[in-house]
Amino acid sequence: MLSVSHLQKRYGDRVAVADASFEIPGGRTVGLLGPNGAGKTTTLAMISGLTAPDSGTVSFQGQSIQQDGRALRLRVGLVPQDLALYDELSAAANLELFGGLYGLTGQTLNGRINDALQLVGLADRRRDRVRSFSGGMKRRLNIAGALLHDPDLVLLDEPTVGVDPQSRNAIFENLEELKRRGKTLLYTTHYMEEAERLCDRIVIMDHGRVIADDTVTGLYNRLPASRAALLTLAGPPLTPAQLARVAAVAGISAAVVTEGGIRIDTDDFGAPLGRVCELLGAAGLRITAVSSGTTSLEEVFIALTGRALRDDPAPVPP
């Protein structure tokens, strides 16, 4: 189990991480989400030992990063957000370096390189220079570089940033394979659908603090309804009184006017939706189109972190 307890980090006057605590059971995948500057990367840096926390502790399977840092580093693989590759060298030469840093040599190293390249689908590009790789291939090789020493915990900092959908899908498959192999993954991303697809649990940070730590289902339950219907209307504009009557229908969690129609949130599209249609028809409004779906993790994220832009840069270490 990875245990992060009350981590704090400050750079000068700026607080990067105010208080971060969460746990990840072994073999599980956790998404660390948050707006820009929320403290995700700093938290990851403290877990990987790149940055010493001002206070708080990090331990993995009983070993503390502060006290057993060297031993723990052997069990942790880091996939940095910036590509950690030498463009001038071949894929194999890059991996030889990363394997060598963890003490791998000879046949063992060679075998691990073959396995890692096989996993990320680059076995046939072993001797090619990285400079000739596409962005997606570089991202996959970047992941391979963290796996050579067979770590139990893999920390991935936005591993799919800037890649095309095909490459992203390939990376998902790589990570799903790592899950199947029992690795513990901590994954930061801005892409909610990635977190939804891959993660057993989501930790959301904002302003340096953990504001949610739950399963995907648990996060959905924090919204008033799990489904939404968008009705496009023809006729006179909906009055506040009519809107209030719609919102008061049993089984409707919320009703809001949208451009050209109304959106209703509900857990049940059956009776409540029929009653809404009756009310709208009685008011002389005609439904011209209906669309429906479940609420998204992005809506949960926005609901928790707000809609304000976060343009502040992340704090820079001195």
């Binding site: 790149l50 580093r73 060598g100």
Partner: protein, 433 residues
């Protein structure tokens, strides 16, 4: 684990160097080209054909037998390239630097000079106009003019009409003046009469006269100059010094590149991956030192291989001294690069400052021109530059042909300098964020 990680880092650095064509060209080809140029300018491999002539001008206003003969001698001299010009254009050419000196021989020079040989009065005045930036040229031309002047004037004095007239005037003067004592007067008269008789016989004999007298008086000795190199009959090779200097300079440039590359790496993901690995600061610094030392040694070896095979540079002194100097200088270079990466903040600023410091070090270290041409105070000051010791040490074990003991002090100075650089690097290197 420690050894494996260090080996992986060293191997990667060497691979990066070998894949960088620019580094190979800048670090090996360019120093060879520049060393070849400087070596050629400073004497090449010893062949006389490589020496340049000194351009001078002569304005012979006299046009006497004596002055024409002196000009002819100057024209024949292998050190000079003589143009006959009048004073004004000759002065203009000196001013513009197209000729390095001009001699103006005044009207009446021949007669006056022959007369002044016997009576130290009314000496004619030859003007020598020199380019002040060519400090040695004036003395060379002055010496050659004196040599040829004495030769032609004495020739005329003892075999020409001007000489006989001067001797007659001298005899007349001895007979007339009363200030000379009687015994001295008799001796002086006898001397002048003997000279006149000799001149008359020379004239009568014509071309059958003794050759030594036909040529006039010449310098009564031969000055034999021996260039003291590693062994007798081994000529000085200007390339030996220039290759030493340029090797030192461009290996230092490679050290700067290594330091700047390390600074740039700090901003890349690779730095995070290095620091996330179970790698310690000392392992990283040791690996960088070792890698840069090996790369520098490769540069050194290739450059010197070209110097030995193409430019005929010889290791006439201690081979062990050369190897030890090379290793120690390359270690110094590696620690110099690490120090730059430790104290530098931005790559651009660090490169600029380091280039300036390096150029200063190689200049005062005698890498461009030998340090013995410096003013005395600069020669003393340059002893503080490790580059001076490196270049002097390489000179000692190559063309000077000295033993290991001559390389020992430079090796110690380089080792101490490397230790200082390494200490600063360890002190200031930021491994943690």
């Amino acid at each position: 684990m420690s050894y494996t990680a260090i080996r992986a880092l060293v191997r990667t650095d060497i691979r990066l160097y070998l894949t960088d064509r620019r580094a190979l060209i800048v670090g090996i080809v360019i120093p060879i080209l520049i060393a070849a140029f400087f070596g050629y300018v400073f004497g090449g491999n010893g062949s006389a054909a490589e020496l340049g002539r000194i351009p001078i001008a002569v304005d012979d206003e006299d046009q006497s037998n004596v002055s024409r003969a002196i000009v002819a001698d100057l024209v024949k001299d292998p050190m000079l390239e003589v143009q006959a010009l009048e004073r004004a254009p000759a002065t203009q050419l000196v001013r513009s630097g197209k000729v390095q000196a001009a001699a103006v021989v005044p009207k009446g020079f021949g007669d006056a000079a022959v007369r002044a040989l016997f009576r130290s009065v009314d000496k004619p005045r030859v003007e020598l106009l020199v380019d002040p930036s060519q400090t040695g040229t004036g003395r060379i031309v002055e010496g050659l003019f004196t040599q040829y002047g004495m030769q032609e004037i004495t020739k005329e004095a003892f075999g020409g009409a001007t000489g006989r007239a001067a001797l007659a005037q001298g005899l007349d003067w001895v007979n007339r003046v009363s200030s000379v004592d009687q015994p001295d007067r008799a001796e002086l008269k006898a001397l002048l009469e003997a000279a006149r008789n000799l001149s008359l016989r020379q004239t009568a004999a014509g071309s059958s006269a003794a050759p030594s007298l036909q040529r006039g008086l010449s310098i009564p000795y031969v000055l034999a100059t021996t260039k003291v190199t590693s062994a007798q009959d081994v000529p000085y090779n200007g390339y030996a010094h220039s290759f030493a200097g340029m090797t030192v300079q461009f290996i230092l440039f490679a050290g700067i590149d290594a330091g700047v590359l390390l600074l740039l790496t700090r901003d890349r993901g690779i730095w995070q991956r290095l620091r996330a690995a179970p790698l310690q600061k000392w392992q990283f610094l040791l690996a960088r030192t070792f890698a840069t030392t090996l790369i520098s040694l490769f540069q050194f070896t290739v450059i010197y291989a070209v110097a030995l095979t193409v430019f005929n540079v010889r290791i006439s002194g201690s081979l062990a001294g050369l190897v030890a100097l090379a290793v120690m200088f390359c270690v110094l270079n590696a620690t110099f690069g690490l120090m730059l990466a430790s104290v530098g903040r931005s790559a651009g600023a660090t490169r600029g400052i380091a280039m300036m410091v390096t150029l200063l070090l190689v200049m005062i270290g005698g890498a461009w021109v030998p340090s013995f041409v410096f003013p005395k105070w600069l020669q003393q000051a340059s002893l503080a530059a490790p580059t001076r010791w490196a270049v002097d040490g390489l000179d000692a074990v190559t063309w000077r042909g000295l033993g290991f003991e001559a390389a020992l002090t430079p090796i110690i100075v380089l080792a101490l300098s490397a230790a200082v650089c390494l200490a600063i690097a360890i002190w200031r290197f930021r491994w943690e964020d």
